[in-house]
């Protein structure tokens, strides 16, 4: 058995090669500067059509011994070759840096932010592709860093890695595509999708039983703070967004009444499915946070002490997101 296992594992040198060639593991811990060892270049479809045409020109010239035909064909080949160097140079020397991974609920998209620096000269015509497809095209300005946000579809709760990203460009003539793989260990948390219309929060354990009605926002606006990716859309100060003043998130003072509550796994009906139970608790976490009620979590094998606020909410949702796949409890 043991020997079988080792046999099925690729040899060490093969792994190393695969890593060097395809960047299969997220081993790019910090900024990556794209050098020739990382840059691949191959003709695009247009390039292949063009090269095939030039080959036909050469063959025709060969047959009819047209020296000028050779001349034109070879000039075009020289053109294509120098385009290849330009395509390479366009990509070479770019520094790619992982910045941040965002957070989202299952069903949404998870943003990852990377920054690219082109250094001297404008670099043109890039796209960054993940497993979910390419980004829109962008240019890198001279000397300044450009931050690019990559969106990955988050389908299920848990950790979602950016995975290997491919930076590519066909500049300047579209005959060649140069690309490089970067594989950052960027991971974002996908929170469980909250139940759309959950029942009211369970009653507080410490005698504070007054439950304010769920929907009404009877709390006071305390102020605005900078928007952070993952903030609830309900709390975004849309007016200021619409004015173009920037993204802010409304903060409320917890006049919501009611004391701390405990969101207990056992409060959720056991006949619901495992994921549905997680979804309900997630919805409760959001509700408690909206009502600014301190809450604690009691989950199978995991607990979270009572708390309140953004960080607490995040901790609670992360805990839920990282619950094991199938309920053992």
């Amino acid at each position: 058995m043991a020997s079988l296992l080792t046999a099925s594992r690729p040899a060490a040198w093969l792994t190393r090669w695969r890593q060097a060639l395809w960047r299969t593991k997220p081993a790019d811990l910090t900024s990556v500067i794209l050098r020739h060892r990382r840059i691949y270049i191959l003709p695009t479809r247009r390039g292949m059509a063009f090269l095939a045409t030039v080959m036909m020109m050469v063959i025709t010239s060969l047959n009819y011994s047209l020296s000028l035909g050779f001349g034109v064909a070879f000039l075009l080949l020289g053109f294509a070759a120098s385009a290849l160097l330009h395509t390479f140079r366009n990509l070479a020397g770019i520094a790619v840096r992982p910045l941040a991974a965002g957070e989202t609920f299952a069903g949404g998209t998870l943003p990852f932010v990377v920054s690219l620096t082109g250094g001297a000269g404008i670099r043109r015509g890039f796209r960054l592709a993940t497993a979910d497809g390419p980004s829109p095209q962008f240019d890198l300005p001279e000397g300044n860093a450009l931050t690019v946000t990559l969106q990955r579809a988050a389908t299920t709760r848990g950790l979602l890695a950016l995975g290997r990203a491919t930076l590519y460009s066909d500049y300047p003539v579209g005959l060649w595509r140069a690309w490089a793989y970067v594989h950052f260990p960027l991971e974002g948390v996908v929170y469980p999708a909250p139940e759309p219309s959950p029942p009211p929060l369970p009653a507080g354990r410490d005698g504070h039983d007054t439950l304010p009605s769920m929907g009404s926002d009877d709390t006071d606006l305390a102020g605005l703070r900078d928007y952070r990716p993952g903030d609830s859309p309900h709390r975004v100060a849309w007016k200021s967004v619409a004015r173009g003043a920037g993204w802010y998130t409304k903060q409320f003072e917890g006049a919501g009444g009611g004391g701390p509550i405990t969101l207990d796994w056992s409060d959720v009906p056991a006949e619901m499915s495992y994921e549905a139970r997680i979804g309900r608790i997630a919805a409760w976490v959001l509700a408690a946070e909206r009502l600014a009620r301190p809450f604690s979590l009691r989950l199978p094998e995991r607990t979270l002490a009572s708390g309140q606020g953004r960080d607490h909410r995040r901790a609670a949702l992360t805990l839920l997101a990282l619950l094991p796949r199938s309920g053992s409890a």
Binding site: M56, L75, L77, G78, A83, I122, G125, D170, P172, W179
Partner: protein
């Protein structure tokens, strides 16, 4: 990377269509000269129509383009095929296919919608750039492809626009400049390939037969053929002499020898046997090199008489290699292959006007009887010959008598002789008496044969013009000539009956011999003047071009490799050397990019430094502590008339230098705009001297 940019239905934009249209016109125009006029007009019209449609407002344009169904265009293509078949008599040949391609690009352009169609058009257009070379590889033809090359590269760039440019108005200059740069950077590689890419000594597949119908001296002669040729200024061959150039009356370039006569047409003998080169016998030897234009026949030309077999110049050093040509018993040189590319060969000749027959015994008897054969007819000529025979028992005296008769009787030398139908010899000799060299040579041979003297017609070229710019001889089609040979006293002797009629033809060339009202090629007539001088200089350039560029074929390549001593290398060594040189080119280019980048400073800083220098010369240097705004303000205070300009300068430089601006793409556009403003504001400032003076007032 198999993933494609997710642009579902990309449509060709107007700049792309315009650039493609310009590309198509640029590659079509050089070709248009060589295809039937209607195909040229139709193909060009299709492209122009699409360009005109593109200028319409977009809604109307889409409506118009949608109205063109693709099956309609397919029908047009089919109809074109049919018409070409009618016009040429066949379709699957080189020329009809070139004409079809010419129209096809127009049809494809009309229906082009997506960038993919654009790619196809670019490929078709690049192929169409080669096709004019089937017909002409002159210097002009080469120059005519340059716009096409530039536009081809620009079209490719416009088909793959980078993001920052896509939205903006595309200026023509940028892609064109970048194209020129890419093409120029590729030139070393192109040269390397040109020299090292192996050429073939024989074509891969058969050359189509439609090549044979080219102009040039043919292997037969009928009245009117040479006079027709005489109207052409085209160059037949050029000759570089090793020693002094022989005088015009000795420059008989021997070509096809015509022995058989059927009453109207003279053709060569059918006997195939090898001839022997004659000995010098005290005659002077001339060494020269001929550069023969392709005439798609096998005859090679040599001064009368060839002293040895021609050697392809570039194999000459090696000494080995197959013979270029064989000699026939009647002393003409026949190349082993059709001359389908410019051919250069070294040749030696003896200047002799008579030579002993090469054959002996049976062969000689056959040669004699062939040279005596006369078709029935021509009773008056026969009677005249019989009369002469009676008067002159000596063969040489008889021939001289005929020439004298030509000279004394009112025979005229003209390019436009009357068309003689049945029994042209009799009617020419005794009625019209107007003819060109082929008439005189033919009639002379008929008279000799009728008198029992073996004789034959020799065609070729006579004379030629010395180009003072290159020191070589140009022989044009208009120098085509026909003369006669007679076997008198065991020797073939040359007789030129034309010389008896119009001696100046031999001394001065065609232009000097013909009456003024005759049509003569321009260049044969103009003897002096700047026009002819320019023409000769141009021809010298073309001669070099032919020799070194067009003529760079298998043989020349071999000899160049031999010269560099790389001809013994194995294929893998050649490939390795080529790869190393390519790598060196790439490394050099990348290094050059890097160096250039270091040199190119920040443009804003350059502009600012220029301004500071100018103001310093105007008497107001910048203080070390002064920032751009303060300095500009001080300058504005000093030259109140230029307040606006200095305000712009100070603000834009400060912004370019210090302020962070918006997001990246905006930033780029904004920077460019600001740089332009800064540049403009500095440009409108008066000169330092004017500034100094205005400050004083």
């Amino acid at each position: 990377m198999s993933r494609r940019p997710s642009v579902p239905h990309a449509v060709l934009t107007t700049p792309q269509v315009n650039c493609l249209g310009a590309l198509l016109l640029a590659v079509q125009l050089p070709q248009a000269l060589y295809i039937p006029a209607w195909t040229a007009a139709f193909g060009l019209l299709l492209v122009v129509v699409r360009l005109v449609i593109e200028r319409r407002p977009s809604a109307e344009r889409d409506r118009l383009l949608r109205r063109v169904p693709s099956y309609g265009l397919a029908l047009v293509a089919l109809a074109t095929t049919f018409l070409l078949r009618q016009d040429f008599g066949y379709f699957f040949g080189r020329d009809p296919c070139v004409a079809f391609l010419f129209i096809l690009v127009g049809i494809k352009f009309i229906e082009a919608r997506s960038p993919r169609d654009g790619t196809l058009l670019v490929c078709l257009a690049s192929f169409l750039m080669v096709t004019p070379f089937f017909y002409s590889q002159s210097l002009l033809a080469a120059v005519a492809t340059l716009p096409g090359l530039l536009l081809l590269a620009a079209s490719l760039q416009l088909l793959a626009p980078p993001a920052g440019i896509a939205g903006r108005q595309i200026r023509w200059r940028d892609p064109l400049r970048r194209s020129a740069r890419l093409l120029i950077e590729g030139i070393p590689l192109a040269l390397l390939l040109f020299v090292l890419f192996p050429r073939l000594s024989a074509p891969l597949w058969g050359l189509p037969s439609d090549l044979a119908a080219r102009s040039g001296l043919s292997n037969s002669m009928r009245p009117g053929m040479i006079s027709e040729l005489s109207l052409s200024d085209a160059v037949a061959f050029r000759v570089d002499f090793l020693g002094p150039v022989p005088p015009p009356q000795q420059r008989y370039w021997r070509g096809p020898v015509l022995t058989r006569f059927d009453g109207t047409e003279w053709t060569g003998t059918r006997r195939r046997s090898a001839g022997r080169y004659v000995a010098a016998n005290g005659a002077s030897t001339v060494n020269y090199t001929v550069t023969l234009e392709p005439h798609y026949k096998t005859s090679l030309f040599a001064l009368d008489l060839p002293a040895g077999s021609p050697k392809a110049t570039d194999q000459a050093q090696e000494g080995a290699g197959a013979d270029l040509a064989t000699l026939t018993p009647d002393q003409q040189l026949i190349a082993r292959n059709l001359v389908s590319q410019p051919l250069r060969y070294e040749q030696a000749s003896f200047i002799r006007s008579s030579y002993p027959p090469a054959a002996l015994g049976v062969q000689l008897r056959a040669e004699r009887s062939d040279a005596l054969d006369l078709p029935p007819g021509s009773p008056r000529s026969r009677a005249f010959a019989a009369g002469l025979r009676a008067a002159y028992p000596d063969d040489a005296a008889l021939a001289a008598a005929i020439l004298a008769w030509f000279h004394e009787q009112p025979f005229f030398y003209t390019l436009a002789p009357p068309l003689l139908e049945d029994d042209s010899t009799d009617r020419f000799l005794f009625e019209s008496r107007r003819g060109f060299c082929e008439h005189y040579a033919g009639a002379f041979v008929v008279l000799l044969r009728a008198a029992g003297i073996p004789a034959r017609v020799v065609t070729g070229y006579q004379g030629g013009e010395i180009n003072p710019n290159g020191g070589y001889l140009i022989v044009r089609q208009s120098d085509a000539h026909a003369w006669a040979e007679a076997l008198i006293g065991d020797e073939w002797r040359r007789f030129d009956p034309t010389a008896a009629v119009a001696p100046s033809r031999i001394e001065l060339g065609l232009g000097g011999a013909l009456p003024a009202e005759d049509r003569v090629p321009l260049l044969a007539r103009l003897n002096e003047g700047w026009f002819k001088g320019m023409q000769l200089a141009w021809d010298a350039l073309n001669h070099d071009w032919r020799r070194h560029v067009i003529g760079f074929n298998f043989v020349q390549q071999q000899s160049l490799w031999h010269y560099w001593q790389i001809d013994r290398w194995a294929a893998w060594q050649m490939v390795l050397a080529g790869s190393l040189l390519t790598a060196a080119w790439a490394a050099g280019l990348l290094l050059w990019f890097a160096l250039r980048h270091h040199q190119r400073d920040d443009r804003a800083a350059t502009l600012w430094n220029r301004l500071c220098k100018r103001l310093a010369r105007a008497g107001m240097p910048r203080e070390p502590h002064e920032g751009p705004l303060a300095y500009a303000a001080r300058a504005a205070a000093r030259w109140p008339g230029l307040v606006a300009a200095f305000a712009v300068i100070g603000e834009s430089y400060a912004a370019l230098r210090y302020s962070p601006l918006g997001t990246a793409i905006e930033l780029h556009a904004e920077r460019a705009r600001m740089l332009e403003r800064l540049d403009h504001a500095i440009a409108v400032l008066p000169t330092p001297r004017a500034l100094r003076e205005s400050a004083g007032s």
